[in-house]
């Protein structure tokens, strides 16, 4: 009960498995987790009076990284050397 109320950032490393056990991994639970994460990000970086480029640039950067990761198998063919 007490462990699940904490955010991920406040959980100590040794308590991580216990915290993961209290997580809700049903579809609704996952969706709720995604919603909460989005809401916290939105309220911290975008929903402010005087924002800057940071809010969307972080979203775009993470999008770039994600799409690079998804296409990595295809990009591996364009490497310059075969052995690293």
């Amino acid at each position: 009960g007490l462990l699940s109320k904490q955010h991920l950032m406040d959980v100590r490393l040794r308590e991580l498995p216990a915290w993961l056990a209290t997580c809700d991994f049903s579809p609704q639970g996952l969706l709720g987790g995604v919603q909460r994460a989005w809401i916290s990000y939105y309220n911290k970086y975008i929903n402010v009076k005087r924002g800057g480029p940071a809010g969307i640039s972080m979203l775009l950067a993470s999008y770039c990284l994600l799409s690079y990761g998804w296409n990595y198998q295809h990009i591996k063919g364009q490497r310059w050397r075969k052995y690293h």
């Binding site: 911290k44 929903n47 009076k49 005087r50 924002g51 800057g52 809010g55 969307i56 972080m58 690293h84």
Partner: protein, 252 residues
């Protein structure tokens, strides 16, 4: 400053999001508000967003690494990571890298040059919206205040109701009084007329009786004077006149 434009377009963007995501976001907002403080008045938006360095890396990372590695820690971490990715070719340099470099340079140049102007423009738009809402609120408050004053004035006027009714009562009493006096005068005049008539009748009767009596006496006297008496009276008159003339001559 881009986020400000996004914020202005947020409701429209929310509508354009796929329905489950938009509904999910709305539902999450509703759940948050019911668990926290009541709906109105809403707390104002925070002035600035979370600190982000170079536009990409949140400040929390730097704070997290500062006790162990000091100020240059995160930069060393970044450099090491980049070199590792490049050397192991986890990040492959190809045509996309060149495209990314060109796009990024253009974007950064645009942001650095026109960021402040766009931010000021978005701020102005926001301020206009807020000013309109504030004007509406102030107007509503003013109308309500004038309504309150009018109401108080009406209440003060109600207190004068007593005077109004007193004046009306006085008016009615005066009307009644004047009407009564008019009728009194009328009665008086009528009675006087009738009495005058009776008096005039009596006077007339007496006058007629007197005249008639005088005439009758004269007529009888004239009738009673016979011719014999007339001669005797005339002779007596002549004798008297002679006596008088004698006494008058004697006096002279």
């Amino acid at each position: 400053m881009l986020s400000r434009l996004v914020l202005r377009a947020a409701p429209a963007a929310l509508r354009s999001l796929p329905p489950p995501l938009a509904v999910g976001v709305l539902h999450a907002t509703r759940a948050l508000h019911t668990t926290q403080q009541p709906l109105a008045p809403l707390p104002p938006l925070p002035e600035k967003g979370g600190e982000v360095r170079h536009g990409l890396i949140p400040e929390e990372l730097f704070k997290f690494l500062y006790p162990k590695t000091g100020v240059t820690g995160p930069y060393m971490l970044g450099t090491g990571l980049v070199l590792y990715l490049l050397s192991k070719e986890i990040y492959v340099i190809n045509h996309e890298t060149v495209a990314a470099i060109c796009i990024l340079s253009v974007i950064i140049y645009g942001v650095k040059k026109y960021g402040a102007a766009v931010a000021a423009f978005a701020d102005k738009l926001n301020e206009e919206k807020v000013a309109v809402a504030l004007a509406v609120k102030n107007k509503a408050i003013q109308t309500l205040e004038t309504a309150i004053e009018e109401e108080k004035k009406e209440q003060w006027r109600v207190e004068g109701r007593g005077y109004l009714f007193d004046a009306k009562r006085n008016n009615v009493a005066m009307l009644l009084e004047s009407n009564y006096r008019e009728r009194l005068l009328l009665v008086y005049n009528e009675v006087k007329k009738r009495l005058d008539y009776q008096v005039a009748m009596q006077l007339l009767r007496r006058q007629k009786e007197q005249e008639h009596m005088i005439q009758w006496v004269e007529k009888n006297v004239v009738q009673s004077i016979t011719p014999q008496q007339q001669k005797e009276s005339i002779a007596k008159c002549i004798l008297d006149l002679k006596a008088l003339s004698k006494s008058a001559q004697a006096a002279v």
